[in-house]
């Protein structure tokens, strides 16, 4: 069963916090795109925030770990840290799959 194929056509608004072009940051973005294309095709947007360029945002947005993915929409806000290499946990974290 794939919950992303449900009736919801709501827009997904994702923000990925990175620190420069680190391998973990690059991996996170690639992994995120893959998951989104598969489950949220056509209804997602990813904003990448490079904290090296804008360190203030780390404080303002309470970022500790890098990379951090924040699901801004749909609500509620979710946070997911890591390079998103564990697809299963990424899906659970984004609530695209129920927690087992």
């Amino acid at each position: 069963m794939n919950s992303s194929n449900g009736a919801s056509a709501e827009k997904w608004n994702l923000r990925l916090y990175t620190a420069g072009q680190s391998p973990k940051s690059l991996a996170a973005l690639a992994n995120l795109k893959r998951v989104c294309d598969e489950h949220l095709a056509g209804r997602y947007s990813i904003e990448v925030v490079d904290l090296l360029k804008n360190p203030r945002l780390a404080k303002d947005d309470q970022i500790v770990a890098i990379p951090t993915l924040v699901r801004k929409l749909p609500e509620p806000l979710r946070r997911l840290v890591g390079d998103l290499s564990d697809t299963e946990r990424t899906l659970v974290g984004l609530q695209l799959r129920p927690r087992t």
Binding site: Y17, A19, S22, K24, A27, A28, N31, L51, L52, P55, R56, A58, K59, Q62, I63, V64, A65, I66, P67, T68, R78, R79, L80, V81, G82, D83, L84, S85, D86, T87, R89, T90, V92, G93
Partner: protein, 479 residues
């Protein structure tokens, strides 16, 4: 013979904390440019100590600070210390302090794959740069272990963090919660190898005592005892017990006891300035009157006197003394005499002693009266408290403060036996006894000892009249 001391230049540079006593027992402060771990159970004062380190750094030593708080928001922190007169908001405004509240909540965070704590590093770096910080507090970094699950990663990041702090050259204070088998739950002491300070909060017979111990301080001498500390309206203070030696200056000057008959018994001149005097006796023998005479006489000469009453309120004491012709009130109004009263049971005895230290430091008296000191001597925690009392007496001696203690003894028989611990430090020891002569009970005073003077061996009759204490020789009396 001249023995050269090792070169001072090699000594570790220190960052003074500005906290009373702490800089003395650490021989100058915390290791500059290095992290110090402060650990202890909940409510032991870790956060306050860390905060005060920053506040004093910013206000007294011109070193700006960063407070990374994992537990409380900036607002909460500011509120906690406002009552101590620390205005964090203003320091932030003046760019002397940067506060960042780092929120880590496991319930809100999922993990997928590899990550690091670069976000925290960036925030720390930003905060340091924003004020040009020389001091950093992380309170308490262990919260990270509650927010993230990858322990191996956290540990390697912590190691990186401490290295980063050293590279930045900041003097850092890291707090940690006391663990069961280690100093901190997460074994932070493994990363901080320079200085570890342990705080403790014990409650003994419903009286709480706070203690501080320096567990380790690499490359420097430090006191190894447990030092009682106090948190009061002016912040943190530690009572240093060390450094008191028997080489204080000795005065040949004499000060009147305020009772002519008593001066007469003491070589006609009274007590030595800077000496300690003990007045022992059973209840109601007039010990307080002798003490009040001395306080009155000091104040009359214009010398500041601190009178600590542990049995009566200042008003009651003044009224009672007025009834026998000793008027203390004008001197209190003039500020030459300060009377402080408190119940001995209100605080731990150590707290009392610490308060006395502080009051002496603030009031700077030439004479002090403690009425009575018995509570300190006879307390159940006898040994340590006695040791502290002895240190207090030594402290007063080094300051050349004449100290008069009254001591309530339980029965005539035990009079001379009770004060073994204190007697060696007492220079002049007066005893008030009751005698039965024929069909009359009367009081008699004699000088048990008085160092450095030929004193009277007589027992004099001790009368309390409307004009104060009068001492008469027994012969006079029989006439």
């Amino acid at each position: 013979m001249n023995i050269e001391r090792p070169a001072r230049a090699r000594a570790l540079p220190k960052a003074p904390t500005g906290i009373d006593g702490l800089d003395e027992i650490t021989d100058g402060g915390l290791p500059r440019g290095r992290p110090t771990l402060i650990c202890g159970g909940p409510g032991c004062g870790k956060t306050l100590l860390a905060t005060e380190f920053l506040v004093r750094g910013a206000t007294q030593f011109g070193e700006a600070g960063v407070f990374i708080s994992f537990e409380e928001t900036g607002e909460e922190l500011a509120q906690n210390v406002r009552s101590l007169g620390f205005d964090l908001d203003r320091l932030v405004e003046e760019k002397k302090l940067a506060i960042d509240y780092v929120r880590v909540e496991r319930a809100e965070i999922d993990e997928s794959g590899e990550y690091d704590l670069e976000g925290l590093f960036l925030r720390l770096g930003l905060a340091i740069d924003s004020v040009g910080a020389k001091r950093v507090v992380l309170d308490t970094i262990e919260s990270l272990f509650g927010g993230f699950t990858n322990e191996a990663l956290l540990r390697s990041e912590l190691r990186r963090l401490f290295r980063y702090l050293k590279d930045q050259g900041v003097t850092a204070v890291i707090t940690g919660e006391r663990g069961e088998r280690s100093f901190t739950r997460q074994g932070l002491e493994e990363y901080v190898s320079d200085c570890v300070i342990l705080l403790d909060h014990r409650v003994n017979e419903q009286v709480s005592t706070r203690r501080l111990r320096i567990v380790k301080y690499r490359g420097t001498t430090h006191g190894t005892n447990e030092y009682p500390f106090l948190i009061d309206e002016s912040g943190f203070s530690v009572l240093p017990l060390s450094g008191v030696q028997l080489d204080h200056a000795v005065s040949n000057e004499r000060v009147s006891s305020g009772v002519p008959g008593l001066d007469e018994m003491l070589d006609g001149k009274g007590y030595y300035r800077g000496s300690s005097i003990l007045v022992s006796g059973t209840a109601g023998t007039g010990k307080t009157s002798i003490a009040a005479h001395f306080a009155h006489e000091s104040a009359r000469r214009g010398e500041r006197c601190l009178l600590l009453a542990f049995e009566e309120s200042p008003q009651q004491l003044m009224r009672n003394m007025q009834s026998i012709g000793i008027d203390l009130e004008p001197f209190v109004r003039k500020g030459v005499l300060a009377i402080h009263a408190s119940r001995p049971t209100l605080h731990g005895l150590e707290m009392h002693l610490m308060r006395i230290h502080k009051m002496v430091a603030q009031f700077d008296p030439a004479a002090i009266v403690i009425d009575p000191v018995s509570n300190f001597i006879d307390s159940s925690t006898a040994l340590e408290t006695q040791a502290m009392l002895l240190r207090l007496i030594d402290f007063l001696k080094t300051k050349q403060i004449t100290a008069l203690f009254t001591h309530l003894t339980s029965g005539d028989g035990a009079l001379e036996g009770t004060d073994v611990g204190i007697s060696s430090l007492i220079d002049t020891w007066l005893l008030v006894k009751t005698f039965e002569t024929g069909d009359e009970r009367s009081r008699g005073l004699y000088v048990l000892k008085s160092r450095g003077m030929p004193h009277s061996k007589q027992i004099r009759e001790f009368l309390i009249t409307s004009r104060g204490v009068q001492l008469e020789t027994m012969k006079d009396r029989k006439k």
